[in-house]
Every structure is written in structure tokens, then in C-alpha cells.
């Protein structure tokens, strides 16, 4: 069919203008400093202008009739589809392109006729009216088609390995510490690796085949200045698709109040869902942006705006949830989830900045950065709350049997999990690092091992243990028996050292710290021995060679005194406990060496004087009984044996 443009006459003045513009365009096009967008615009302008000049002035009368005829053809085409409700592009793509051609023609007519209608006849005005009317019909139809196409050819967004790992257990902060054991904390901090899918693989959100259709609809609608309708329809449909997707991800909408009042188990679960959702949505949005780019390719400036509109509302929901979490009271058990959240936002920050790099997306970017800051603050506050909680722990009953205090267990296990977040914590704690760090003294074997021990996180760990130690010291005062105090402290320090030597923590505590603390618990062991045995052993000390002057009674008293002391110790200290078998053994051996030796010397030298009756036990017996010490089950030696003659 002929082109309307060839029929509409062009008045002379306009021809001059067009020629001048074309010159201008050519001149600009020759310049070397143009970027791609500008070049595109210029080439479009150029083609448009050349189209306009291919006009042969025809006489008005016949021209008009031809115009009318062509109009009728186009009108029929468009009206023909009105009764047909099926999807145009699905049923017959060729027909669809014919339809579009018809629309384009009407469009040109609408553009061209007003020039006539200035002085136009009534008939021309009517024609214009009809043309506009049919154009509106067509636009309406195209809008519907657009929606249908988008909805029908929507593709389900799926990334490769999106497994959802739910970690159930957590280190529960329980005031009574009754239930805390050496838990498998590895479970509690499984990091979700599904988000590491690179953004290069960008799945399609809409079947690629229909994208040219979308583009053609877009071009036509924009040309008829129905761009607003197009954008609106497009945005609405895509927004709905995004919402739907979030529903599939089972992300629920909570008000801030709900979040603050939720109990920890639920909250834990929701946070993990959130983290996964955030990772996935970012990738989804990359696809969405590509779709927008493809559809709005030649239509330039609206692209970022549409994309931002589509994604803003849902993203704000996710961000609100994050904000609500960051607002909550800092509790130690929240730390790991907070760190996870921080990590996911920090990881994705770059993508967000890229996706929303234009001006229209500034508000989203700002919100993300703010969320990151708030999460950081919250995480830091939680870390410090942890320290405070340790210091404030105020139970007044001493741990029975001098065993390891649950607080020690809890703290060390909690700390053991932190190195997993080492990089994040170092960033968070960077500015907080006071002068508490030791100066970098001699390096171990010239290696840089100690540099890790001085990173901010390591310093923080050591400060935590420092608080713990102070607490333990004060707790030990709860024991009345001085020896038990030492046993208690020895146990706990030993436990700390053992945990610090574990592979996760070793590098952070550093050899120096470990050595210092080994010395400490050994000191306590020595103090214990002194406290327990010094008086008893002093009884066994044999005087100088003038033994005859020492009367037998005194010796017998001494022997008896010793035996009584030993039995006392046995009675009370078998009830004490040293959980670590090696430590127990060491202490027993050391005790045995001193005590048994002294006893053997004493009895050996004085057996004649004292008489068998008083030497209740042989050295072997003593050795055996010492092995009973610190087993944790109290025993008693008196009356358990029949007296020897």
C-alpha cells in the first residue's frame, strides 16, 4: 500500500526548514566527539527528515481523496481486529505487523493533517477526527496486547543451585546456663552459598521471541505520544510479576512492631529467608533491567525511570525488614544473623549501585547504604553487649566440685564461631580498635603469624576473654576453701587454653597469649598443692639427725596428724572434679610425687619408733588413694577398712 507521506503536500517554507535542518544534522554528524546516544538521535532525525522531503506536491483535491481511501483501508484493518479478542501476536504475527503498519499510517495522517486543517474544510476536520478516534482504539488494543504478551510469555526465574539451608541450632543465651553443652556450633553458622552465582548468567524474564513484538508496540505507541499509557501498563505488569515472585519466595510482609515482638526462633527463620530472597532478587532485577533495556532500547530516557518504578516498592519492603531487625535490642544470640545480613548487603552493594546507577535510582541506593550502616551499628552494639553481659553475670552459687563454669563454656564456644566472620568483623571493628593491641614484638620465627593475632577481631576476642577472666576471678571468691578456688581457676583457664588452641582460634589468640595462660593455670596448680598439702607435709618434715630427742609421742602425733589430714583431704577432694583427664593425671602425679615421697621418707626413717598401728597406710595405698582424687565422686576413707593389727 502506498504511503500517506507521499501524498501529503509540503509547503515551501517548510521545505526550506527541512533542508536547513538536514544540513545541520550532517554537520553535527561529522563531528568526532559524539557519543552513541547522540549519534542515534541524529541518525533518526536524519531519516525522518529525508522521509519528509520525499513529497511531491500534488493538487489538493485528488490528494485528499486518495488520503481518504488509504485511511479507509487502515481503518478497516484496525476495526477488523476489534471483534477478535484473541491475542494478536499469537494467532498471526504477519497480521500483527500489518496491523502495526496500518497504525503507523494513521499516525502519519494525524500528524500531517493538522497542517491542512488550519484552513481545512469540514470534511478534513472530520477525517482528522475519525483518524484520531481510530488511533485511540488502536492504542487501547495495543495496550491490551502488551499486557497479554507480558503475562503470557512470562518465564519463571530460576537460578542454578538455589538450595535453602536452614540452620536450626543456635547458641542460646540462657541465664541459667543449664542447657549449654559443648555444642556443635558449626551448624549454627552455615553460610548460604547460593548467592555467589555470578551476575553474568542473566536468565530471561520474558520469552526472548516476543521481545521484538514488545519493541514494535513500544515504538508505535511512543510515536503516537501514548507513551504514558505504555509505560504505565508495562510498569504495572512487571511490578505484579515481581510481587508474585516474592510470594513464591515466601517473603512475608511484617510491620516493624511485628518484627520487634517476634520470638527468636521465628525471627531466625525469617532472617534466613530474607537473606536468600535478597540474593535472588538482585539477580532477578538484573534480568529485569535487561528486559527494560531491550524494550526501551530506542526510546532512551525512560528506561531507568521505568526500571526504578518497577523495583522500588518491593525493594523497599525488603529494606524495611532489614531496618526493623537493625532496630531491635542487641542480644548476643542475634549476632550471627546480623553478621549474615550485613554480609549479604555488603556483597550485593556493588550490584545495587550498578543497577541503580542513574539519577532516578538514587533513593534506592541511598537506602541500601543506610541499611548497611545500621546493620553495622547493630552488630557492633551486639558485640559489646556480649561483653557487658559476661561482666554482669551475677549468679551467686558457686559451681559444684570446682568444675568448669558454664559461662566459660558458653563464651569460648561463642567465640569459636566468630572467626568465620573474620573479614566482616575486621571491617566493623576497625575504627574501634583502641590501644589495647600489643605492640608487634618479636615475630614467631620471622613468620607473619602474629599479624593475624593483631587484627581487630583478634584484639576483640582477647578483650572478651579478659572480661571472662576477671569474672572467673570474682567467681572463685565464692568458694570458701582456698584450694578449691585454685582448682576452679585452674580448670577454667585450662579449658580456655584448650579452646584457644583449636584450629579456628589458634592464629587469632597467638602463641604468646596461649603461653601466658598455660603459665597461669600451672601457677594455680602449684598454688593448690601448696594450699592443700603444705601443712600436712610440714608435719612429715623430719628434723635434723638428733632424732632421739624427738620423742616417739611426737612422731606418733605427727604421723597421726598427717593421716588425719590426708583423710580429710581425701574426703573433700575426691568430690572435686577436674574434667580433663590429662590435667587430672598430671596433678595426681605431681601430688603423688611430693606426698608419697615425703611419707615414704618419714615412715621409712621412723617406722621403728612409731609402730605399725599408726602407720595406717602403706605408700602404695597412698598412691592408690591419690588416684581417687578429683574424680568427682566423694569418698571417705575412715571406717572403710578394718583396722590392721
Amino acid at each position: 500500500m502506498g504511503d500517506f507521506r507521499s501524498i501529503l503536500p509540503l509547503c515551501e517554507g517548510e521545505q526550506h526548514v527541512i533542508a536547513a535542518t538536514q544540513h545541520l544534522v550532517k554537520a553535527l554528524g561529522a563531528s568526532k566527539n559524539l557519543d552513541d546516544d547522540l549519534r542515534k538521535i541524529l541518525s533518526q532525525l536524519d531519516s525522518h527528515l529525508s522521509a519528509m522531503t520525499i513529497l511531491s506536491p500534488e493538487s489538493r483535491g485528488t490528494g485528499f481523496r486518495e488520503v481518504e481511501q488509504q485511511f479507509k483501508w487502515a481503518e478497516e484493518k484496525i476495526r477488523g481486529w476489534e471483534s477478535n479478542q484473541s491475542l494478536m501476536w499469537d494467532s498471526d504475527p504477519l497480521e500483527a505487523s500489518e496491523y502495526l503498519k496500518a497504525v503507523v499510517e494513521i499516525q502519519t495522517l494525524v500528524e500531517g493533517l493538522p497542517r491542512l486543517s488550519m484552513s481545512g474544510t469540514r470534511k478534513q476536520k472530520e477525517l482528522l477526527n475519525r483518524a484520531e478516534s481510530i488511533l485511540q482504539t488502536a492504542m487501547s488494543r495495543l495496550e491490551e496486547e502488551l499486557v497479554h504478551i507480558l503475562v503470557k510469555h512470562k518465564q519463571y526465574f530460576e537460578l542454578g543451585n538455589m538450595s535453602f539451608q536452614y540452620c536450626g541450632k543456635d547458641v542460646v543465651y540462657d541465664e541459667s546456663f543449664v542447657s549449654v553443652e559443648d555444642m556443635r556450633i558449626e551448624e549454627a553458622s552455615q553460610r548460604n552459598n547460593s548467592g555467589n552465582e555470578s551476575v553474568d548468567c542473566v536468565p530471561d524474564l520474558v520469552h526472548p521471541q516476543v521481545i521484538p513484538h514488545l519493541k514494535s508496540i513500544a515504538t508505535v505507541m511512543f510515536a503516537s505520544s501514548y507513551d504514558q499509557e505504555f509505560c504505565q501498563a508495562f510498569i504495572s505488569v512487571r511490578r505484579d510479576a515481581l510481587e508474585e515472585y516474592l510470594v513464591i519466595l515466601k517473603v512475608e510482609k511484617f510491620s516493624i512492631e511485628d518484627v520487634l515482638k517476634m520470638d527468636w526462633n521465628c525471627l531466625n527463620f525469617e532472617i534466613q529467608k530474607w537473606i536468600r530472597a535478597l540474593n535472588v532478587i538482585i539477580r532477578y532485577l538484573a534480568s529485569e533491567k535487561r528486559l527494560c533495556g531491550q524494550v526501551f532500547e530506542d526510546l532512551g530516557f525512560l528506561n531507568p525511570f521505568c526500571f526504578v518504578e518497577i523495583s522500588k516498592v518491593s525493594l523497599l519492603h525488603l529494606l524495611n525488614f532489614g531496618d526493623a531487625i537493625a532496630m531491635g535490642t542487641p542480644e548476643p544470640q542475634k549476632l550471627f544473623r546480623l553478621l549474615d545480613m550485613y554480609e549479604v548487603v555488603a556483597d550485593n552493594l556493588l550490584y545495587i549501585d550498578t543497577l541503580f546507577s542513574e539519577e532516578a535510582g538514587t533513593c534506592v541506593r541511598i537506602e541500601f547504604h543506610q541499611l548497611l550502616r545500621r546493620l553495622a551499628d547493630s552488630a557492633r552494639a551486639t558485640l559489646f553487649t556480649f561483653g557487658n553481659a559476661i561482666a554482669a553475670n551475677a549468679s551467686t552459687s558457686p559451681v559444684p566440685r570446682g568444675e568448669i563454669h558454664p559461662l566459660t563454656r558458653y563464651v569460648m564456644n561463642y567465640i569459636k564461631t566468630l572467626p568465620i566472620y573474620c573479614s566482616i568483623l575486621n571491617v566493623l571493628l576497625k575504627d574501634q580498635n583502641a590501644a589495647a593491641s600489643n605492640p608487634v614484638a618479636e615475630l614467631e620465627n620471622g613468620l607473619e603469624v602474629s599479624s593475624m593475632a593483631y587484627c581487630p577481631m583478634a584484639c576483640h576476642l582477647r578483650s572478651i576473654t579478659c572480661i571472662l577472666e576477671a569474672k572467673l576471678d570474682s567467681k572463685s571468691k565464692l568458694y570458701k576453701d582456698c584450694a578449691l578456688q585454685h582448682i576452679f581457676l585452674m580448670n577454667n583457664y585450662h579449658y580456655m587454653v584448650e579452646k584457644a588452641k583449636s584450629p579456628e582460634l589458634k592464629l587469632f589468640f597467638g602463641d604468646e597469649w596461649i603461653r601466658e595462660h598455660i603459665v597461669k593455670f600451672k601457677q594455680h596448680a602449684t598454688s593448690y598443692e601448696r594450699a592443700t598439702w603444705s601443712s600436712a607435709l610440714s608435719l612429715l618434715r623430719v628434723g635434723s639427725a638428733g632424732s632421739s630427742s624427738t620423742s616417739k609421742t611426737i612422731l606418733k602425733d605427727k604421723c597421726r596428724g598427717f593421716i588425719i589430714a590426708f583423710e580429710e583431704v581425701y574426703k573433700s577432694q575426691t568430690g572435686w572434679s577436674i574434667p580433663d583427664p590429662k590435667l587430672r593425671e598430671d596433678l595426681q602425679i605431681s601430688t603423688s610425687q611430693k606426698v608419697v615421697l615425703a611419707y615414704r621418707n618419714f615412715t621409712g626413717r621412723n617406722s621403728a619408733d612409731i609402730g605399725e598401728k599408726y602407720i595406717k597406710y602403706t605408700t602404695d595405698d597412698l598412691e592408690k588413694y591419690i588416684l581417687d582424687l578429683f574424680e568427682g565422686s566423694p569418698k571417705s576413707l575412715q571406717r572403710s577398712r578394718s583396722r590392721r593389727n
Partner: protein
């Protein structure tokens, strides 16, 4: 200690005066015709601004030489958690409101389509239909907002139609995603009511220390939230009570009370009619103009008579003006709310 007490009183007075001043500004600006009228977008922006300033002053009062151990003693140990609770509710309301501002922007865009259709040099059938379609969607969404939740069912179109076509119907599901963005069962009215519970002016001895400023701040917050909810349609506004306890005798509250009365009046007026699309002035105008333009479109017949054209042109201009104001105001309003 006495000196401290005097200092406190002084602070308190300053704070009261500050609040009173800001609110009387608001009141005067609302009655002044040239400036912003009550519950327009720019007035709301001022309102939020006032709130932010009061909050800053409040923080200053809190920080200046206060004894932190006071917080754990009564009456503060009850008041402070209540206050924090109110703050959380207020934040939720803000979130809901800022979502709703999104939908108001949607109205604006629809109105803009209508405007651009009518602003063509020569109005033809096509343009009129286009405008009508946009306006119909606008009316529909305005109505839908206050209606029931989650209704995206097909509606029987009782608006006038040209010819036998049902082309002018916008897809009903289009606006699904803009509605009801908060959690299920969340209700703006209930939140406001909950906020106003236990809001009692401290008397006598209790009014020393922080109790008074806390009370003032709470009242201010409550008022601001209430006004926002009244103006902008959010989720579940039914039952928004028009009165809440603001003691009239307190000097600083005078302007607030006056404003409250005005708003309550508007609310009652609206309740008479069936549609409550929020008291936001611009939306009201959109509604009004939209209706009359639809009527015009219904009776449109090509070619149009000159007088009708003129009449309509003025309405269209008004509509365009409103749209422009909305355009300028809404996005900053949103940002302000998020600042809160």
C-alpha cells in the same frame, strides 16, 4: 538539686514554647489562602518538617544534663517503654503512608494522561475517549482504595460508555500491586488508637523531669500521624476516631487543637458521601474535576460547541495545575517521611 530542677523547668518551658510556635505557624498558614491550604501536599510537607524539628528539640532536651538513672524510676520506667512503643507504631504508620503516596502518584499520572489528552489543539473523539479511560481508572482506584481489601474482581462498569465497545476499561488487575502493602491485618486506625491509649498528661509532682517533654512529644507524634493517615489513604482507615485526648488547657496545644478540629470537620463532611479517598486536598480536587470531566466526555459530540469547550478548558487547566503541584510535592514528601 534545686538548680537542676529550675534548669529542667526552663528547658521544659522552652520546649513547650517551641512546639506552640511551630504549630501556630501551621495553623496560620492553613487559613491563609495564598499559602498552602489545609491538608494539601505542601502543608503536609510542612507538617512533617515541624515534626522533625520538634523531634530534634526533644532530643536536645533529653540530652542536656539529664540524669540517666532517672529513667528507671517511676513514672518514667513506665512512660519510656510506652513512648518507644508509640515510636515504633509511628514508624509503621509512616511506612504505610509512604506506600500510599506511591498510589497517589499513580492517580497523578492518570490525571496527567487525561490532561494531555484534553490539551490537544483540537479535541476529537479519540482524545476524549483516551481521557475518559484514564479518568475512569482514576475514579475506580479512588473508590477501590477505601473499599474492601484485595478485590481485583471484574467490576461491572456503570460508567457511561461510548458505543458498544468495552475498550475503555483498564485491566482491573493492574493496580493490585499498589494496594495493601502492609502486613495482613494491620490497620492504621488501630495503630493510631493504640498510640493514643495511655496518653495522659502528667500532673503535679510527676510533671517534673522528663515526663512532661515525653508527653508533649508523644502528643505531637500522635497528631502528625493522625493527620497523615487522614490525608492519605492507607490500609484500613475505617474507624479513625476523630477525637483524641489533647487537653485544651495546655497553652502549647491550642493551635494543635484548632487544627485537629478543622481536620475532623473535613472528615465528617467526607463521611457523608460514600467515597473517602483521603482528605488530601489534591486528591479531592482530582475527584471533583474528574467527575465533571467524565460527565463532559459522556456528552461529547464531535464537533464540540465552543462554550462547553471553554468551560472544560478551565477545568482541565485546574487539573493540570493540581498535577503539577503533586508532581513537585509528592516525591519530597515521600523522602521526608522516610527520614522520619
Amino acid at each position: 538539686m534545686d538548680g537542676n530542677h529550675e534548669q529542667e523547668l526552663e528547658d521544659l518551658e522552652l520546649f513547650q514554647k517551641y512546639v506552640a510556635d511551630r504549630f501556630s505557624d501551621l495553623l496560620s498558614s492553613s487559613s491563609d489562602e495564598a499559602a498552602d491550604s489545609l491538608l494539601s501536599v505542601s502543608w503536609l510537607r510542612k507538617l512533617v518538617d515541624v515534626f522533625l524539628c520538634c523531634e530534634a528539640e526533644f532530643k536536645a532536651v533529653l540530652i542536656m544534663g539529664r540524669d540517666p538513672s532517672q529513667v528507671s524510676k517511676p513514672p518514667l520506667d513506665r512512660l519510656v517503654p510506652e513512648f518507644l512503643d508509640r515510636v515504633v507504631k509511628a514508624l509503621d504508620v509512616c511506612n504505610a503512608v509512604s506506600h500510599s503516596v506511591e498510589s497517589v502518584r499513580h492517580y497523578q499520572k492518570l490525571a496527567e494522561i487525561a490532561v494531555s489528552a484534553f490539551e490537544q489543539r483540537s479535541i476529537g473523539d479519540g482524545q476524549v475517549r483516551r481521557a475518559k479511560k484514564a479518568l475512569n481508572s482514576l475514579m475506580l482506584t479512588l473508590e477501590e482504595k477505601e473499599g474492601s481489601n484485595h478485590k481485583s474482581a471484574e467490576r461491572a462498569w456503570s460508567f457511561g460508555r461510548r458505543g458498544a465497545t468495552n475498550k475503555d476499561r483498564a485491566a482491573p488487575g493492574q493496580f493490585r500491586s499498589l494496594s495493601w502493602n502492609m502486613a495482613k491485618g494491620w490497620s492504621a486506625a488501630k495503630q493510631i488508637q493504640a498510640m493514643s491509649a495511655n496518653l495522659v498528661a502528667p500532673r503535679g509532682a510527676k510533671s517534673s523531669g522528663l515526663a512532661s517533654p515525653v508527653y508533649i512529644m508523644s502528643t505531637v507524634m500522635l497528631f502528625v500521624m493522625w493527620a497523615l493517615v487522614a490525608a492519605i489513604p492507607c490500609q484500613e482507615r475505617n474507624g479513625l476516631s476523630t477525637h483524641f485526648p489533647v487537653p485544651r488547657q495546655l497553652g502549647w496545644a491550642q493551635s494543635m487543637v484548632a487544627l485537629q478540629e478543622k481536620i475532623a470537620e473535613e472528615w465528617k463532611k467526607k463521611k457523608e458521601k460514600t467515597r473517602l479517598a483521603g482528605l488530601l486536598e489534591e486528591t479531592q480536587r482530582l475527584e471533583r474535576l474528574g467527575q465533571s470531566l467524565i460527565e463532559f466526555a459522556d456528552s461529547f459530540h464531535f464537533p464540540a460547541e465552543a462554550e462547553r469547550l471553554e468551560e472544560m478548558a478551565s477545568q482541565v487547566a485546574e487539573l493540570a495545575d493540581t498535577c503539577k503541584k503533586m508532581e513537585e510535592g509528592l516525591v519530597p514528601l515521600q523522602q521526608q517521611i522516610r527520614e522520619v
